[in-house]
Each structure stands twice: as C-alpha cells, then as structure tokens.
C-alpha cells in the first residue's frame, strides 16, 4: 500500500541547494572545468562512459562533476541522459585489428609481431605517492621514436594457424544479434548478449568475480593472450548513400584471454578463450570481463557449473550497478507504512508468544 506523505518539499529544496553549495566547495578555489576532468581524470571519465554505456567524454566529465566524483552516481546520470536521445541505428562491427595502437602487450608471446608496447601504463611504477604532483610543475612530453603504420595482428590470429586455439566465435545461425537495451533479459542468454551486459557491468563486481575464478571458484587457467588499447574507426551505413562512412574514432580496450581446455569426446584438446571489449582505457575491466566471459561459457564446454562466476543468471542479473544501486538505495526512502504493518504483526506474534510462555512461567522475560 502506498500513502502519499507531504511536507518534505522545503527540506528537499534546501537539501539540493546545500548539495550545490558543497559540490562547489570553497569559492576561493577555481571551479573544475570539463576539460580538466576529461583531460586529467581521464580514466574516471572512461569508467563512466563504459558503465554508463555512452561514449561521450564531455558528457561523462559533466556527470563526474555533477556527481561530486561519485562514479556510480555519474554513471546513473549518463544512463538517464541516454534515454532522452533517439536511436539512429547500429554501427558496423569495429575492426580492432586495424586499431591505432596506444598499448599492446602479450603475456604468452615475448617476441610477437608488432612487439610489446607498454604505452601510458601504471605497470612497473612503484606506487609511491609523488609529492611533486601536488604542485603544477613542468611535465616532459612523451619520447618519440620512428614507428611503422599498419595492421597489428591479434595474438589469437597467430595461434589460430596451428589450430590449437578456439576460433573467434561464429555468428548465431539465425543471424540475430541480441540487444539487452531492446528486449528484457531472458535466461539462458547467448554469448553476445552476455558480452553486452558485461561491457556495461560494474568494474568492481566483475573484478571480484574474475578474482574468484583465479582462487578456485570455477578455475579456468587463464593467460593474457593480448591486451590492446587504441583508437578504432567507427562506421555506419548511411541509407541515403547506400554505403558505409566513417563517423569518427573511439578509444577501446580489448583483452584476449587464453584458457586451457582438455577437450571432450567431440572436441580436440585446444585453448579456449574469453573476450573483453570496453570503452576507453580500462584494462582491469577488460581483463575481468574476459575472465567472466570464459567462466560463463562453462556449459558450452561441458564443464560443471559449481561456482558463482559460472552462474549466468547470478552474474548477469547483478552486474549492472545502476540497477543494483537503485534497489539497494531505495531502502532508505520512506517505508513508514510497510514498517508499521510489520511492527503490528511482530507485536501480535510477540503477545501470542508471551501468552503461551506465561502459561508455565509467569512474568519471565521471553527467551532469546
């Protein structure tokens, strides 16, 4: 039962006014610009784009500012904004093999064609706080070295030659491409719909699940075949022209996880794979996505589904942090009537209990 309760309007208005004041903080300190957020807190912005499922740096930066740096709140803002826009259609599938590489590493091949290219990474830093960054000292630009242009082969293509690794994954026979934004989730899901859910899934949640597989809850013995970060062209067909045109570039992170598989009566022993593809620079998320993708393919390989990370309905139903936060946080909204009803019920049960107990032991407090 819902009963309208009035009286909070002035309090809400003043709370939001106070929020705006606190968000701005000390007026003697200059306000953050969106360029500063997008440029200097770029990875926070990337996370908001990935989990907000909207590639738009400026909007994500605005959301981070409005949310006072609360990234899940920012993701919520972006998701809400998305709903106001019309849909123009689907892009052609991007070609990550043609990526302009910013980082590309493999943990399985030392000397792979195209090389190990570290890019702007936190790896190998000492994780010591740098007091210099508290100021605004001069920063050297990146070193440059002569580079080759051209396609950088994916590690999976290199291994594929020997037939020792699973192929990329054929399209479904009906050619349909599931879209979780158009049709409600239904289980079991196809792998493509799962990947769409994981691509916008919460990084922390997926990281925890991925870690659980490494600790033995659905172990699948992973190697990082390759991680690459870079810019890819997006193309869309323009109906008036009848052909595809490039509409710009996005930055993506791709992770190819290579996993062992013993083989079965039907399938020869070969490496299997998990795949991660995420907006922006986010290799922790891409790696977690790839590990969870592989774990969720357990049934496909005839593996026992024994761990949380292998349970499709569990993983996918809880990976969206906007849904999760909505349901958890709604608990703080007024539940006065629900609670009154339960309070009445517990009082009556308690009275009955006391009456029964009182039959044998008068005035004694109810046991625990």
């Amino acid at each position: 039962m819902y009963v309208a309760v009035k009286g909070g309007e002035a309090a809400i208005d003043n709370a939001h006014r106070l929020l705006a004041d606190r968000r701005r903080g000390d007026r003697c300190v200059p306000a953050l610009t969106l360029e500063q957020i997008a440029g200097q807190l770029a990875l926070a912005v990337d996370r908001v784009m990935a989990e907000g499922s909207l590639y738009d740096r400026e909007l994500a930066a605005l959301a981070v500012k409005q949310a006072r740096g609360d990234l899940i709140e920012a993701i919520f803002l972006v998701r809400a904004y998305r709903t106001t826009l019309p849909r123009f259609g689907y892009s052609e599938p991007v070609d990550t093999g043609a990526m302009v590489i910013e980082r590309r590493i493999s943990a399985t091949y030392k000397d792979l064609p195209g090389g190990q290219v570290l890019g702007p990474t936190f790896d190998y830093t000492h994780r010591l706080l740098d007091p210099e960054l508290a100021g605004d000292g001069p920063v050297a630009s990146g070193q440059r070295r002569e580079a080759e242009a051209g396609r950088v082969r994916r590690v999976s293509e290199i291994l594929a030659g020997e037939g020792l690794i699973e192929e990329d994954g054929a399209p479904p026979e009906d050619g349909a491409i599931g879209d979780i934004t158009r049709t409600p989730l239904e289980f079991p899901m196809d792998r493509q719909s799962r990947l769409q859910s994981l691509a916008r899934g919460d990084e922390g949640y997926l990281l925890g699940l991925a870690y659980s597989t490494q600790r033995g809850y659905g172990r699948n013995h992973p190697f990082v075949g390759e991680i690459r970060i870079g810019r890819v062209d997006v193309e869309i067909e323009v109906p008036e022209l009848g052909f595809c045109v490039p509409i710009g570039r996005v930055q993506l992170t791709e992770c190819q996880m290579v996993n062992q598989f013993k083989g079965s009566a039907k399938a020869p022993p070969q490496f299997t794979r998990g795949y991660g593809l995420v907006f922006g620079q986010s290799e922790r998320k891409a790696m977690s996505m790839a590990l969870v993708d592989r774990a969720l393919r357990a049934a496909e390989f005839g593996e026992d589904v024994v761990a949380p990370a292998q349970d499709e309905e569990f993983v996918i139903s809880h990976c969206d942090n906007v849904q999760s936060t909505g349901f958890v946080e709604h608990l703080k909204l007024p539940h006065y009537v629900d609670f009154q009803a339960e309070l009445d019920l517990v009082r009556r049960m308690r009275a009955d209990f006391d009456k029964r107990a009182g039959g044998s032991q008068d005035h004694k407090e109810a046991p625990e």
Binding site: L54, Y55, D56, E58, L59, R82, L85, F88, G89, Y90, S91, P93, V94, D95, T96, G97, V100, R103, V117, L118, G119, G142, R144, A147, E148, R154, S156, E167, G169, A170, P171, I177, D179, I180, T181, R191, Q192, L195, Q196, A199, R200, R231, V234, I236, E240, L241, F243, C244, V245, P246, I247, G248, R249, L252, E254, Q256, R273, Y275, V278, F279
Partner: protein, 157 residues
C-alpha cells in the same frame, strides 16, 4: 567494410567516404577556421537536423567473430540542400550540431565544379594532413615504449 571491397580511389563513393571521414574526425575549431578562409556562404535549407542521437557500437566476439553490441556512442547528423539542388550529408560522433551542419554544407559543395578544387586544396587536404600528423605523433610516442628484449649471458659457459 574490409580492405578487399574498398572502392578504388577514382570511385565517387571512395572520395565521399574519405571526405565525410575527414569532416567527422577533424576538430570543430580547425574546420571553422579553414571554412572561413574559403569565404563561401552558400544558401541552403536543412532537410534533416542537425539532430543528436545514439548509435549502438558493435564489436565482434574474439575480435573477429559474431557481432555484439558494446554500448552506445553519441552521434550528430545533418542533411542540407543547396539552391542548385545538391544534397550534402554529415554524420559524426559527438553532439556538435554547428559542426555537423557545416560539414553537410561542405559535403554538398565539394563536388561542385566551381568549388571542388579549393575545398580539396584549402580545407580537406590540410585537415587530412593534420589528422595524419596527430596519428603519427601517437604512433611515435607509443613506439618509444616498445620493449627491446635482450638476453644476458650468465655463468661460466
């Protein structure tokens, strides 16, 4: 579109793809500056937009397998018609309606015999060169972080 069915350079589709790609990727400020340098201001009417919406970006499982939806990108598109009937289109990432409309006008003008040469030489070519230079810088900065493995010989033998 894969490399094998890429139209040849003389194909009008190829030149349109190139042109729309440059106009989509270039910085709005650069485009405005070069356009003002051309001192063209053709009368035109808007057939569609400029309007902003969503395009669902697709990837492929494993990089080359079945297509799947990764997430949405914001896209702005515009279609204009010049007085001579030429129609121009623009589709680009982002929400810059002014840039989209200008790009559509340039697209419509670019095949006009009176303007094609100047648009190519004074607008498209410099924009393309700027984009190529930015790519080159990114490639070179990235190349400097390439690991050069060497093996250390240890022990007596």
């Amino acid at each position: 579109m894969t490399a094998t069915d890429e139209p040849s350079p003389s194909d009008p589709r190829a030149s349109r793809r190139r042109r729309m790609g440059i106009l989509a990727r270039c910085e709005a400020g650069d485009l405005k500056r070069l356009w003002e340098g051309l001192a063209l201001d053709p009368a035109h009417e808007a057939l569609r937009g400029p309007e902003t919406g969503l395009v669902t970006l697709r990837g492929r499982t494993g990089g080359g397998g079945a297509p799947f939806n990764v997430g949405e990108v914001s896209v702005t598109r515009a279609t204009v018609r010049l007085e001579d009937g030429c129609v121009g289109h623009a589709v680009m990432l982002g929400r810059d309606r002014v840039k989209a409309r200008l790009a559509a006008v340039i697209d419509a003008l670019a095949d006009h015999p009176d303007h094609a040469g100047r648009i190519e030489a004074e607008l498209l070519a410099p924009l393309e060169a700027g984009l190529a230079q930015a790519d080159e810088q990114l490639r070179e900065e990235t190349a400097a972080t390439r690991v050069e493995f060497f093996t250390m010989v240890r022990g007596e033998d």
